[in-house]
């Protein structure tokens, strides 16, 4: 089992399917919160549903709205289960604290490269641990290539 230790952790233990991309994240810039999809055309996860997924992304981007939006999405059961970042900004931590969303950040490796898109992972903030329970099928190699402009290939069946 692959395990990754985080320097920063918050929230309750959860597990689920991971959406992985070497890309940033802002609830305001990147999401259509009414359809539950990544909506920014340039985002590597565009078109994919983030609802009840575990997002494994490079860094928190842009504006401060995410602090409210995570709370609002959680109230409508349209939120991700957890968010995992290589580096986090203050806003996502504040939003996760208000919204009750598990959050891990700060690793010794690039977790967006180390974990395959579609893997089943466990986020365990109490242990500051990210565990890969089942490795994904790797159909989204582009998401881990470091290229920042191409959208990922869709996961089959979605």
């Amino acid at each position: 089992m692959m395990e990754f230790i985080a320097r920063h952790a918050m929230g309750e233990k959860v597990s689920g399917t991971a959406l992985v991309a070497n890309d940033g994240f802002s609830a305001r810039y990147d999401l259509n919160r009414w359809t539950g999809l990544f909506s920014r055309p340039a985002h590597k996860l565009v078109g994919l549903s983030y609802v009840d997924r575990i997002l494994i992304l490079d860094t928190a981007k842009g504006g401060v709205a995410s602090a409210w939006m995570l709370h609002e999405m959680k109230s409508r059961h349209m939120a991700p289960k957890a968010i995992v970042f290589n580096t986090v900004n203050t806003i996502l931590a504040q939003g996760a604290a208000l919204g009750g969303i598990a959050l891990l950040a700060g690793f010794d490796v690039d977790v967006t490269a180390a974990i395959a898109h579609g893997s089943i992972v466990e986020v365990d903030p109490g242990a500051r641990m990210l565990r890969v329970l089942k490795v994904g099928d790797g159909t989204v190699a582009a998401a881990q290539s470091g290229q920042r402009t191409e959208p990922v290939v869709r996961v089959q069946g979605r």
Partner: protein
């Protein structure tokens, strides 16, 4: 975190449930970032438009207000709201949006918050000074106050900024610490922008290179000291593209009198940026020629941007809507100086107290049939793609021309 006697009392409920809730939230955030203690802050600034808040956020505010415990303890102001009530019908905004806004405003007022509704408070209300610890929301406000004013703030999202207003303090981490304010990325520019959109585009290029919140670019090579408006667009775009909260300009910004002052002399030059790099960013937002709407917003316009815009609008007749958005502090001067009349005589609209992307931009676009949007704000083009727009970056002159002809040349 180490708590002093007052903080222990707040956490124990001595000042009521509102302050207790706020401090509990701040401790969760402080623990996450390894803050050792709290630092007193003199001002707070809250981003809380209702598109972000939603019903859940408004209800959260109402619960705090309903406690009737006195509200904020320090000067606490607001970022742009989700509408200009006097023009909401022209924007295609629905009644439910306005009702949610009214409820949020009522809750804020009961909490003692001053409804300044501006993201240019550093130009209009009370600029934070060098070394002043504040809790500011709006990324553009934070990066300007940190970099140009030399104040000390992290990005404080709405719940944390309000918490700071209620407790008078914030966790001491990030840009409240000397060590975090040293440069981490040395950049040399070989070309100095002259127009606001180019300053924004340069900020966007640097923001992309910086890449995350904890990177602090130090920039050398500018051949002039930028104006407040130029730095406003520069920083807002950098924060938007890169989540950057602090930059230094050698010989210009107050903490970087020399490169050595911010540790830049120990860094290799990581990137050299020229006009071609800025043009490349701009070309990424060059879409079709046709334009549905022209927007000047993000950040709100200063009185001198409005003066420039009014001069460009004089004698024109627009075929496309042109929205010019400013603060409630600036709008009366815009009226008084005759700029509103010039802009609106051409067919434009001057809006106050809102910001385009914080005002249900997706729903406005759907209601009004706006998709192809021209603006001189690099920050705005970075945001609006996710809202279903095809945003295009151009100069103020080119945008005004587009409003007249319907096409961006």
């Amino acid at each position: 975190m180490i708590l002093d006697d007052e903080e222990q009392a707040i956490l124990g409920g001595a000042l009521g449930v509102v302050a207790q809730t706020a401090l509990g939230h701040q401790i969760a955030v402080g623990d996450f970032f390894g803050a050792k203690d709290f630092v007193p802050v003199t001002q707070a600034h809250i981003m809380a438009d209702t598109e972000s808040l939603g019903q859940a956020g408004v209800q959260w505010l109402e619960r705090l207000a309903d406690a009737q415990e006195g509200g904020v303890r320090i000067p606490t102001i607001t970022d742009p709201r989700g509408t200009d009530f006097s023009k909401a019908g022209d924007l295609g905004q629905a009644d439910w949006m306005l009702e949610l806004e009214r409820r949020a405003i009522s809750a804020f007022e009961r909490l003692g918050v001053s409804m300044t509704d501006t993201c240019i408070n550093y130009q209009t209300v009370l600029a934070a000074t060098r070394g002043e610890h504040v809790a500011f929301g709006d990324t553009g406000v934070v990066i300007y106050s940190n970099s140009v004013g030399g104040a000390r703030s992290n990005f404080e999202g709405g719940p944390s900024a309000l918490s700071a207003g209620l407790t008078g303090r914030t966790p001491r981490y990030g840009y409240h610490l000397d060590a975090s304010r040293q440069a981490t990325l040395r950049i040399r520019v070989g070309w100095t922008p002259r127009a606001l959109d180019d300053w924004g585009a340069l900020g966007g290029v640097i923001g992309r290179l910086a890449g995350n919140y904890w990177a602090v670019p130090v920039v050398e090579g500018l051949d002039t000291a930028p104006t407040s408006d130029e730095l406003k667009h520069f920083g807002a775009a950098m924060a938007s593209f890169g989540s950057t909260a602090l930059y230094h300009l050698v010989g210009i910004t107050p903490e970087a009198f020399t490169l050595k002052d911010v540790g830049g002399d120990r860094l290799p030059v990581a990137h050299r940026i020229g006009q071609a790099d800025v043009a490349a960013l701009r070309s990424g937002y060059a879409g079709e020629k046709g334009v549905d709407v022209v927007v000047f917003s993000a950040p709100q316009l200063s009185i001198y941007e409005l003066r420039q815009l009014a001069a460009l609008c004089k004698g024109r007749s627009f075929r496309r809507p042109l929205l010019a958005i400013t603060s409630p502090q600036v709008k009366p001067d815009c009226d008084r100086f005759g700029y509103t009349r010039l802009i609106e005589s051409a067919g434009g609209m001057v809006l106050s107290g809102m910001c385009f992307y914080q005002s249900y931009a997706r729903e406005m676009g759907q209601a009004k049939g706006w998709k192809r949007l021209a603006t001189n704000s690099a920050k705005l083009v970075n945001i609006l793609g996710g809202y279903g727009y095809a945003p295009m970056l151009a100069s103020m002159q080119e945008c005004v021309d587009a409003a007249e002809t319907g096409e961006l040349k």
